[in-house]
Structures are given as C-alpha cells and as structure tokens.
Subunit: 503 residues, 2 copies
Amino acid sequence: MNDRIRHPGLRAKRMSADDAAALIRPGMTVAMSGFTGAGYPKAVPQALAARMERAHGNGETFRINVLTGASTAPELDGALARAEGVELRLPYQSDPAMRERINAGTLDYLDIHLSHVAQHTWYGFFGEIDVAVVEVAGIREDGSLIPSSSVGNNKTWLDQAQRVVLEVNRWQPAALEGMHDIYYGTALPPHRKPIPLVAPDDRIGEPYLRCGPDKVVAVVETDAPDRNSPFNPPDAVSQQIAAHLLDFFAHEIQRGRLTPQLLPLQSGVGNITNAVLAGLASSGYRDLTAFTEVIQDGMLDLLKRGVVRVASATSFSLSPAGIDEFLAHVDSYRERIVLRTQEISNHPELVRRLGCIAMNGMIEVDLYGNVNSTHVAGSKIMNGIGGSGDFARNAYLSVFMSPSTAKGGAISGIVPMASHVDHTEHDVMVVVTEQGLADLRGLAPKQRAQRIIDRCTHPDYRPMLQDYFDRACRDSYGKHTPHLLDEALSWHQRFVETGTMRQ
Amino acid sequence: MNDRIRHPGLRAKRMSADDAAALIRPGMTVAMSGFTGAGYPKAVPQALAARMERAHGNGETFRINVLTGASTAPELDGALARAEGVELRLPYQSDPAMRERINAGTLDYLDIHLSHVAQHTWYGFFGEIDVAVVEVAGIREDGSLIPSSSVGNNKTWLDQAQRVVLEVNRWQPAALEGMHDIYYGTALPPHRKPIPLVAPDDRIGEPYLRCGPDKVVAVVETDAPDRNSPFNPPDAVSQQIAAHLLDFFAHEIQRGRLTPQLLPLQSGVGNITNAVLAGLASSGYRDLTAFTEVIQDGMLDLLKRGVVRVASATSFSLSPAGIDEFLAHVDSYRERIVLRTQEISNHPELVRRLGCIAMNGMIEVDLYGNVNSTHVAGSKIMNGIGGSGDFARNAYLSVFMSPSTAKGGAISGIVPMASHVDHTEHDVMVVVTEQGLADLRGLAPKQRAQRIIDRCTHPDYRPMLQDYFDRACRDSYGKHTPHLLDEALSWHQRFVETGTMRQ
C-alpha cells in the first residue's frame, strides 16, 4: 500500500522519470512547479535534460519553453540550461547556468510580475500549455492533491495544461497537509468578484489542489530534498541597513503613522531582509503579521517567538536547519502559516487592501529614486523582478535596500541614472543603504536627489555624485529632473570598460 | 432666496473671493478641486494670485503648496504660477506657465499616480492640509454638497483639510445632481474591506459630498465656465493609429481572447484616443462599457449612439459644443454616466477586477518596451504620469500609442533607450504608431525589439534603430537586453544639441 498515492487510478499511472520525460517533445510549452528552490520537480526535468543531450548528440534540436512559479534549483533550471534545452524561460529565475545563457543571448527570458503569470496564462497570452510537471506531497483518495513546499502557479498549471505529470515526493513532510489555502474563486473578466481576504491569516479556499485524474498521464515517485540553501547569519552591512530601517519604523510609530503592530510585512529573499527580521525580533515587536512570498528561517524564528503572529506566503525557502526546526514543531507552525497560490500571495488588490510594508532588495537606485532590480549595467540580467513590483506599487510603504557599494567598492549602488528601471520614481518611497535611510515621500525630484546623496551614498562616491548633480542642475536641458545625457550612464560604461565605476 | 446655497448656516458664510483668499497664508498647503480642466475653483485662486503679486511687490515671499485632482486651467495653475506663488505642486498638471517654471527649476513638482494621492494624504505623507478650496454645483439643506463637473480628490480634501472654502458655481448645470457616486467605505489599513464594485455602472456610494458645516470658513459664489477646450477632429495620423488598434481588437475577438463587448475601456485624453473612440463607433461595436478617468466629447457621442452603454469616470472634459450636447440630453446621460472619486475611478483593485483595456498616449518607447510618458530628453517634464500607471499595470491589455515622430520628424517616438521610464518593460503589452502595432505579449526583450523596429518605427529612423540594435546584439556587455551604454541616449543628446534626433 502506497500511503502517498491513495487514488487507485493514479497509482496505476506510476512510471519512471525517464518514461514520463518521454512524454515531453521538442517545441512544447512545459509548466513546472517550483518557487524559490522549493516544491520543484526533482526527477523528470533531469531525465528530460538527459534526453535533450542525447538528441543534441544526434544532431537533433530539442528545446522547450519553460514556465515555473519562480526560481527552482540545479536539478531543474540548471539541468535544462546545461542541456541547451530551453528556448524561452519565464518568470523569475536565479540559476547560474540559466543566467549565463540568457546573458550570452542564446536563451530567451521573459521577466514579468509574479502576480501576472497566472492570469496571462488564463488569458492565453503564452499560448497553450502542453504539459505540466508538478511536485506534490501526496495524492488523496478522491484524486485531489496535497501541495508540496510551494504552491506558486500550480493551480493554474494543473488547470490549464493539456496533460499533467505528477511527481509525488516522499521527502516532503506529510505534515504539510492542511497548511495550504487554494483559492478557486478566480475568474476571467468581466466575471471577477472581490477576493474575500481582509487579513493575512484569512483562509478563503481549500487545502488541496484539484486535478482531473484523466489529465494525469504519469505519476513519478521521488524522495529528494528541496534545494535548502544553508542560512547565512546577517553580515555587518546588512545589520546596519536593518538598524536604519528599524529606527525609521520607530520614528513612524512615534509620529502616529504606524502602530506597534506595524502593517503586514512583505520581505524579499536574502541576507538584508533576514537582518531586518532579526532586528524586529530584538526590538520588542509582538504580534506582527506577514503577507509575503516566502517563509525563510528568519520568519520561522519570529513565529516561534511570537514576534510574528501569522504569516501568509506562497513558498518555503528553508535551510536544512530550518527544515528540522519546522518539522520539530510542525503542529504549531501549521496553525500560523498559510501557503497560497502566487496570484493571491502577490495580488495587487490584497497588497493594497492590507497596506503591506514592502521591503525588497535592489541592484541600484538613481538620484531621482528610480530603482533597478534586475540588470547589471543595463544589459545583463541578474535574476528578475520577482514580486517586488506587485508589492511596491501597492504597498503602504515601499522600501528598497542595498549595500551602498558592491564588488569591493567597484560598483556604486547609487548612480546618476539607473541603467534599467523596474520601479519608477512614482513607486519608491524609502531607500536604505548601510550609510543611512532616505525617506522620499512627498519630495520632488531634486529634493529626492539631495537626500539620497546625503543619506545613502558611500563616501567614496558621494563627491562624484554631488558633482554630477550640481552640474546637471546648472546645465541640464530641463531642470525638473536634471541630467547630463552624455554622462548619465558613464559610470556604468566605465565599469564595463575598466571593471570599476571609480574615476 | 439662493437656490444653489440651501443651507442657512453656509449661506451666512458667503463672502468675496478676495476675502476668502485672505484666509490663505504663505507656506500653507492648499488642496484644490479640479481634474482635466473641469470643476476647479474659478475665483479664489485668481484673488490669491493677486495677493501674492502684491506681497512680492512689497518684497515679501508668498508661496504655497498646491494639491489638486489633476490638471486645472489658466485661472488656477496659470495664475498661481505666473504670480510665482507655488512652492510645490502635485499631482498631474498641464499648464504652460506652470510647466515653464517646473522646467526652469524654480517650482517643485511631485508627479505621482493619481490613485495614490488620496491615500497618501490620509496616511499623512504630505503633511497637514491647511485649506481646501473646492468648487461645487450647490449646497443642500443638510449641508451636503452637490459635486461639480469633476470629483477628483474632493472627498479627501473636504475630509482632511483644517478649513474649507467652497466655490458655488452657478454655471455648473443643476442637472449634474445625482450623477455622482461618492464612496465613503474607504479606510486606512488594517481596516480596509473589499470595494464592492463589480461592473462599471455599479453605484456603491452616495450622490453628495459630506462636509461638516463648521469647517467651512467661506462660501464664494461664481458663475464661470470650465476650461472647455474646443474639440479637434482626429487628424490622419491619429486615424491610422486608431485603425491599427481596431484591427487588433478584431483579431483578438477572432482568436476568442475578447468578446464583441470587449472589456471596460480606459482611454487617456487627447486626439489619438478620440480617434479610437470614433473608430469604435464606425466599426459596429455595441454595448461597450468604459471605466476611465475622463468623459470627452467622443465618449458622449458613443453613449448617444449606444456604442457605449455606460461610462464611469471622475471628470468631464468637454468642448463648448460637448457641453451643449450634454445639457440638451442630460436626463439620458445622467442614467449612463457615473462620476466617482479618483481613488475609485483609478483604483488598482477595480482596474484589475474589471480587466480594463487601458489605452494611453506616450512620449516615447524604447526597443525593449519601456515607456516614457512624462519627460522630454529625460529632464523636461511635459505634463505628468496621470492615471496611466494605475491602469496599465493592472489592465487586461495595456496599450501605448504615439505618432512615430514628433516636431516635424525631428524626434522619433521609438528610441534605443527611453530617457525616462514611467511604464517598465513588465507593464507594456501593445505599442501602436501610425506605422503599425507591435503586440509584445509573451515576447522576450530581443523579440520585442525587432517587432517594435519592424512594426512601429518611422522609415526615416528604422535603419538607425536597426543598426543600433544589431550592433548592441553584437557588442553589448550582456545580451539579455543589449545596449551600448555610450550611445543609448545619444539620440536625445543630439536632439538637445542640434534640435533633431536625425544623424
């Protein structure tokens, strides 16, 4: 008796990953599960990559379009990229092999808001989904699916794909059952209704994914861990950034613009936001809430201490130690964590209603508050925009954070003009580096510029930036957003040519 | 008996515009009514400007911060700008005298999404509102206010201001009464609820503005028309743009991605969108809906013919002939037009729920689909972002339209890199010029670039743009979004130096 595959008809569809991969043919559009290294299929993509390599060895072309929730892991993005098997990839990714090919120009990448992926699929903007490959934690007697460690776009993939391949991963904790909230009330316009969620812990759906058993063409059993990157304790720069932001929160509470419960927190993935979470824990906050994308180790810790009361997300992204902690106290966490589809976790309607405090990293910000989250020197993709646009545009507070320099000081995080814009001057309220915090609310462009120079810029770059700004204020064609166009991108050009933005 | 001021207490507060203007002192933050040249105060701003000029003549400084709904008219923005009386202006404006000072660097302008203005005021991000100056069509017995030809932010101004000056404008049709729908269900997070609107014609509020009579410090009677710019019939270029878009709609209907009723239309103000509206009328469409900001002459015509069944907006912007038409058939129009506050007409929650088709003008678009709606050559403001971001980000379809050239061919509307970004590559689906239409949905950056070059670029600039793109694909630092940073803004720089982007 297989306790993870309790539907007899689906049990009968078990097969090897190789056989399941053989159902995917060149040119297909394949939608896969996976979000920030959790809940992605572990076996079929690797078997598929092996088939692609064999085909390429025989002089045949075998490439597919790959859609996911967000980033996955070497077993998926890495394997398919190294097999030269991806024609088009969307949305967010962070795999080194994939990134290398995107930036070499041999692989097309479509970087879109994470909340838009599902609806653009429903609208038919990406064409037909030929096959979905979705990891689940189990299959119930009635054929409904116990979601895995991420939900992402899985509801949409199962619903929209012509054929479905399920990976049932025994490694995923059986205790995940009941944590998920899959909302089936979405519709296409003009039939949409308000989404009935008014608090981060509201449950508005059901704990299982629906999937017609007839659609399922293969069930593959796996027993393999999620990516589980180890957790790095925050470094000094991240702690300084966090300290500035915590000072700001305290100031806003004092001014009466926030209560001590703040508002639902959204935090991007990474070192800086982990430092912010740690800082909240040590600053006496209690009963906060999170309405975010990802549950990291830091969030588990806050939940455990009661600093955060409830957290809504679409995925876990835990270290091995975080997994152990989660499993050891799973009954407590199950009550206080809700995992949703990513069109709900990131929905503009909900982000605006809840009034989230959106805290995201960035690559660079310019004098006027335009933020680049995705590109190095305007042309090389780093990862992607992820959900930062879903949250920042609609948040109560939009905060962007970065060290003031990168690459040992060769790159300034504050530049005259952003080399790519993902968040416009209209969407950026607060900028933080280890140097300080610039509150841009209510400021016109030149006021923003001086504040960013004074508060956020590294001393090594501050005179250069002040000099640019002063000369732009004197010589610019227009003086609303002063720029010297023949110099605005010269810092980036110097970096490309000499390896440093320094003069 | 004054039939427009039916509340005795408020009737007793009547005074001259000069006396009312004397209540506004230097340094104050003054919130005024007005949206696209409709419903702005006609008398107090001019009296205030005269006081400012006298003060400046005496060597005193008299400047204020001015908040509005959107653009107003010479009697407000023009008069205050010419009096050098504005310290900070927000949000959208389009006045020549104001623009001149903003671009001279002597007046600070904060260009923010129109749906954000009200909530940022509630949040306290703009500080205290000292005085509101709001035009109304009348005051009822109970002190409630009959809104004028625009609603804009008036609910917020009346609610948030310390003191209120009302202008009761007898010129405004009494028949406006009952057309408005003022929603009082808004709240600050964490107390927000879903907005109960599921169709453009849903009425979710009340027809009158509330205002505590004690707050009102002055009532000024006026009898003066709105700006009422004459309506220009669409030119040939606008008609070509409209024709491309109408072909696209027909194609989408054929593909089953739209029904013949389309989805609620949002259209920016101007010649091109008027041509689109006219094109819809002559293409056999019936029973369409509009969820937009402004009712222009073209929309009245569609309502009259039954092409559009109902239209939701926050303001009128009619020509003198349009006004006459409206008044002649006001009872019919009153049933089919709803005027809302601008935080509702432009609300992301509603735009996404309804699945609007957002059609907005632009200044330029770059190879990769980044749109500049606001700046000439990256530094000079034209008008502002208006509601285009509220709609484009959340629309079912986001369309940006422009002639392929401007200034007699000296400026290309398609450039290597946008000199300012208001709508990012993540938010732009369709680009249209008189040359053709580029459907960017589902395309990666380099695919977008080639399509925009092929379909939208003027033949005079096409070889230059193809040459840039080809060389960028060969020589760019990264090949995801190929750019040559030392050349990316050279077209704009050439325009600044020589008056043309041509080589």
